[in-house]
Amino acid sequence: MERHHFEADLQALRNQLLTMGGLVEERVHRAVQALVHRREEDAARVIAGDAEINELQMAIDERCLRLLATQTPLASDLRLITSSMKINADLERIGDQAVNIAESALTLIPQPPLKPLIDIPRMAVLAEKMIRDALDAFVRKDAALARDVLRRDDEVDDLKDQVFRELLTYMMADPGTIQRALSVILISRNLERIGDHATNIAEDVIFIAEAKDVRHHAEDRSGR
């Protein structure tokens, strides 16, 4: 007995999540690049493109609900569909964070740069890689890769703290920098949150693959 239609539906769900993941990863990249290269039109496109992500989010939720209602999924199918709904929400939030970054970029671009941007692009590279690997882990049900994503969250957090510390000294030395420094701090905070969302996705992948809930249990995260 094979459930061809159900199987095709699940594959379509995975594909939609991958599409969504690709979109939000690209938005994060474009928003940070808009800031680095001072391109207002790119930042504006990130903001305008959020509607597309929102629509995809609703389509994915609708598919999940329909599958739950009509297919009564069990075991790994049940874990896949319920976790997909959570991954979907995390991806949409990453899209929102990309919009926040683009908005901060729009306020920063017209002003003279505070300092050369080094940590922000590094954070972006790390966060984008976390999203990509969390989704690769999702596609391959690869709990080991998902655990690797969990470990990398600390690097992003450390960079955010570094940005905070550094910009604090700028603000104390010259109150005229406060507005720009706060915008950069907000961006580092947005990127740190993106890392957290990627972490959530990685936790969901471990649940799908191993039926283990590793949230809120740092000691179990490394696996057996």
Binding site: M1, E2, R3, F6, T72, P73, L74, A75, S76, D77, L78, R79, A211
Partner: protein
Amino acid sequence: MAEQQSSTTPGDPGLRIHTELPTRPAEAAAPAGPPDIVCSSVNLAYGDNHVLHDISLEIATRRATAFIGPSGCGKSTLLRCFNRMNDLIDAVRIWGGIRVKGLDINAHTTDVIEVRRRIGMVFQKSNPFPKSIYENVVYGLRIAGVNDRATLDEAAERSLRGAALWDEVKDRLQESGLGLSGGQMQRLCIARAIAVEPEIILMDEPCSALDPIATLKIEELIYELKERYTIVIVTHNLQQAARVSDSTAFFWLGKLVEFASTADVFTAPREKLTEDYITGRFG
């Protein structure tokens, strides 16, 4: 009989009232003593056809245990071992141990009639006798020699209430049991089973011939019955097993593949075979 009834009512209700978290009723109560049924390496063969292979499992007291698996996996055969219904089949050989409340039910000294009184059974197709509703319910008691009208009346009402049928039939107890709807007939059979105060109720596909509403009533009833009785239910309906049972055993080609809490079996089965079966990817 009435005294025996109250003695089988599970523990101190006060314990449960103080359970603050909204757990499922199944999880609210602590296990009610040692397992009712203990199978150790049970094997069964019809002639050369070896049907059950080394089945070892324990059926928890006052819990609902579901047997699932594809047709021919042996789940109904094992169920019928518990009250020696397989005795009726020629050339059947059973070896290994089956103990019900410590009693070796296959021992020569064991009284089969007594085994079947203690272990009631409800079948796929409801089988009321061509008698009145009342006489259907008290049939087992009359066979056992009870003729006192008051005792029979009391047992009939208690059993029909226990089977959630009383309100629907109390004004027509003398009408034929065959005039009831399918779902009512099945509940009548449950009332007949519980009238003789069994300890265990075996159900073999009790809802497969019923519509969804009648099925729902039986499932609600199983929830109530397991407060007082140990239930073993064979079902092809996986959602039904998921809804009503506390533990689920999955059988495949006469072997017990997996036996665990129902929540675990349906969300995170350990065995690939179980996973493939319940997600519909067999073959």
